[in-house]
Amino acid sequence: MRRAYGAGRSATVALDDVELTVPPGRFVSLIGPSGCGKSTLLRIVAGLEQPDRGEVLVHGVAPAEACAAKMVGLVPQSPALLPWLSVLRNVTLPQRLNSGAARRRERIPGLAAREAAAPARTVQELLAAAGLGESLHKLPAELSGGMRQRVAIVRAFALRPDVLVMDEPFSALDELTRESLQDQLLALWEEWRTTVLFVTHSVTEAVRLSDTVVVMARGPGRIVETVGIDLPRPRDEGLMRERRFHAYEDLVRDRLRRAWHSEAA
């Protein structure tokens, strides 16, 4: 797959010759320096951009079709909540819009079976599990940054998505809030086992969350290595202090550094 911005000699090739297959139910992180095209890759999967060459399939269908069937749950960098809606209504609005999606979902092969496997949870239950039970009727401005990002995550899960696409969702949060949101995301994910594509700058975050870490390099954006993280789940704080966790961190960091040097050379 290839994606370039602009044309001719001034064109910037954001992604070139990228090939990646994500098995269903895997948690995959994309990590790499700024400008390596990881966010572009994510936007293509979320149907927000089209590749110039090649194709992307989400569970066998094109991203546009997947979006039309509301199979994609997007969590952007900022929570992107509507400031005039309560927490509850911010979560339920995307469910109410595009009501034709239910019909389209039926036509997606295998989706019904995958959906049946996902836990049946109401929005209220999801919000309560995220620690937002008391805040259902608050406006986003009355919440802290961390709480707002929790709402954004619940909003994505409430769509019962087939693929969760997360673009550095925790990068604006402080260390402690970030770890507690990682805990929450892992708890939800272990229950749902939906496929996740997660863009991050943080090696620790990538190793902690993922089954697979995809290391990318830039100029042009490409995948240099895929690192499988073979650590037991659930991954609690204790694991983060163990030697094998640090070994994986060192491995990913080493691959990142190598990618950096190869482009400098």
């Binding site: 927000l48 900022s78 992107a80 609005l93 819009l97 802290s144 707002r148 604006a172 507690s180």
Partner: protein, 283 residues
Amino acid sequence: MSVAEGRTEEASDVRPARPSRMRFGHPRSPLAWLRPAVWLPPAVMLAVLAALWSWGARRLPYLLPPLRDVGSSLTGNPGYYLHNALATLGEAAAGLGLGFAGAFVLAVLTSELLLVRRAVMPVAVVLNVTPVVAIAPALVVAFGFGPAPKLIITGLICFFPILINTATGLRSVPQEVLHVYRSIDAGRIEVLWHLRVPYALPYVFAALRIVFPLSVIGAVVAEMSAAGSTRGLGTAISVASSMNQLPVVYASIAVLALMGVALLLAVTLVERRVLHWHDSAKD
């Protein structure tokens, strides 16, 4: 607003609820007017101005009527002023309504259709800098002394601020919000109604705060330009000044000023109700 909201850094995940906005002594609370620090400065200013006026009225009786005469003209014939004020207010409101409806529909079209935006916006900007009051006499010639030219002038004056602000507001939805709703393939009408229109509301109210006083100006100018009209404060002013009845002129002006204040107050109250979630409705 929401673009930056994810970037606020909070050490704690919990934040105390925002204190009530309407407590006593708050700068925006109506009860704040009980505090001398709030009512005293404008009161002193008014007293100084009134003293200057009275002094001027004694020196130049042909230019300034004594305030007492203005007051007695108001209290002596309140029905006359009320009747004319209602006529002017009716024209202003009807013209504003027309201008608002037209501008809002056109703003939606410019935000949805790039071609319309490219065609309309440059023309709108040129027409906006053309003083509409200068068209008033021509419109009176074309449409006579009835309500038509008054509605057209008022509507035109209100049209452009609403058009430009609303068009800007409809396009002010943050990129990431649009991404979330595009990723669920929300329809155009859904995006317009659930995202674009609410995000445009603060801009619409900013325009209304400009346009409410302008609508009164439009109505008065139209009345003055139509020499044969029989109602309205603009007519009252031009008739009274041609007969050198200065107290009536200034009493009418005072009524117009009160009307403007009342309209502005009304917009502000509605705005605070509707935009309680927006920064402009706080502090």
